[in-house]
Symmetry: T
Subunit: 69 residues, 12 copies
């Protein structure tokens, strides 16, 4: 990792199934336009309720990726 | 959401099964007395150990609900 | 203020007109059920956009009030 | 503590005698309306001066209590 | 909001007229290149002085927008 | 700005009219004894209530000024 | 808990399977040398990506244990 | 408090006797040069050990005072 | 202090008598195994209630000690 | 600076030679695609060790640049 | 250090040469009017760019000094 | 890094020569008793003054190392 420069972006993903799935959904979407993603850090975990049940989990994360060349 | 006023309360829930279940247990209990819960934010995640195993997970969360009328 | 005990609650108010109005709307609503409100502290200021314009401002605040007798 | 759900509330107590007494005064007052208080956490410690002397200490604390049944 | 993935970017806007206008100026500029902006959060509020008067207010904000498709 | 050394001081201003006016009142007063004020940063925004209305807004700010020579 | 003195240490555990498993892996390893572990607090949750997929989750936690006698 | 402008300064006081005394020692010294001190807020509490005993407590505090006229 | 290297450890002490005593109890226990303790910093102050009274105070602190040779 | 809108991005740079060089390496790389960079703020400083020596320093920074017209 | 009362002030220094030099420049200037400076703590490190190069580093620091007599 | 468990310890190092050297001195000392150190994070940077000059820089850092087997 010594020679690389990374950029970090902030994303918000969600899922009805839980925290890990909300992260995966954000990363799957980001993959379409961002190459070389290397790591992420969870910043915030929330959820939204409908009729007393958790309708979806929502996770804010930072994702680091290598800036090529 | 433009016209509403919300109140936020702080709860601590626990579960032997994991983080998401600890959140659900807090919300299920809160539901008995709080109406119109809309979202939650996780503040802190802990766990308690007995004989070297995780006996229960414990999650502190803020819950926002609509103040009616 | 020496002999009093205060309680602080967390509210979220909103307004299409700006930060100060969002605070006032939260306080006006709280007044219906909370007596002896003495001060507030702004925790967070947000806004929601519709078609590129700010539809409403949203302010999270803590409100302190005297616990009587 | 595994099965309980707790609620946390924020209080401000004061005393001319010191930090510990300001905490106790807040708890004594809270006891009139809150049952099953279990623990507290000090968030902030302040004091107010009159003619160059500390007139009273003021402590902000969170108190956790069990939500029954 | 359940199925969306959002990206958050950080902007700094300014205005001679006050905090709300500094936010609006940042959003107006961002709109030229960012579609689907949904909300913002104020991170920091500053001001710059010239000859003892506030020449302009400067607000740092995060803006969340929907990542399409 | 490359060669200057700045000092920052912390002030609290207030106003019945709103956040921006509370800042201006603090700066107007500071100007009597502090020269070369260059910028400020808002740290905290509060308000005090009397009979259910906001009697005054209170803003804590840091002010940076150039140390001459 | 009244008479005990606890020490807290900071650990980082990881797992390909999720947040809870990363915590358990850290605790299982710690158990080999630390007795009387009582609770943990999650400080940070990260993940590392390989070829666009989460290769492993990584959780930083503090663990509290009783100092005997 | 509506019309006043306050300045806040940061002090560090110490005492062999405890936290409250360290605060008082800082205030007693400040009084020699600062008029109209109104309140303080504790920022940090430390202590220094000599031969295994607490030689003195050390408290960092902010003190607010009224800027006259 | 110029040539030394210090290590800092985190401890939790408690006492029925107050904050200072909880600190002292943690230090007394640590002394059995840690030499050359030089200073401590209070991180968190809590208390536990039994039947509406404070059963014990609990203080989390960091302790710095010199690493010899 | 009164009329500008700035965007801030987060970068991570590294260098075997020290903190300032890690910053410069991040800026040199960013320059290839970002115009009008105006300032940066260091968020985090880390280092990685190989065989007991610092192999490279790693600095996370925010960089602000002017959004043109 | 047991009997002293300290005051802490906040300064911003800068240098084209690096972080340590920016600190030294702030201290050199402060020395003209502040006696008995004892320690400093770095709060924030920034830099300003001109034509893609670091024109100067800028460091915000707190400086503690003994209040005499 | 996927299968490892790490422990993090907190150290304070110092040097008359600057920030990087204070870090190196802490790591050199730690190496005598800690194996497999992998990374560090700077938490705090301070300095101590004697007769108006920086006598030594002091850096607090966390060091992560692999827990073997």
């Amino acid at each position: 990792m010594a020679d690389h420069v990374y950029k970090k972006i902030e994303l918000v993903g969600s899922s009805p199934d839980g925290i890990e799935d909300a992260v995966k959904n954000a990363l799957t979407r980001a993959q379409k336009t961002v190459r070389n993603m290397r790591w992420f850090e969870i910043l915030e975990t929330r959820g939204y309720l409908e009729e007393g049940k958790i309708a979806h989990w929502q996770v804010t994360l930072k994702v680091g990726f290598t800036l090529e060349g």
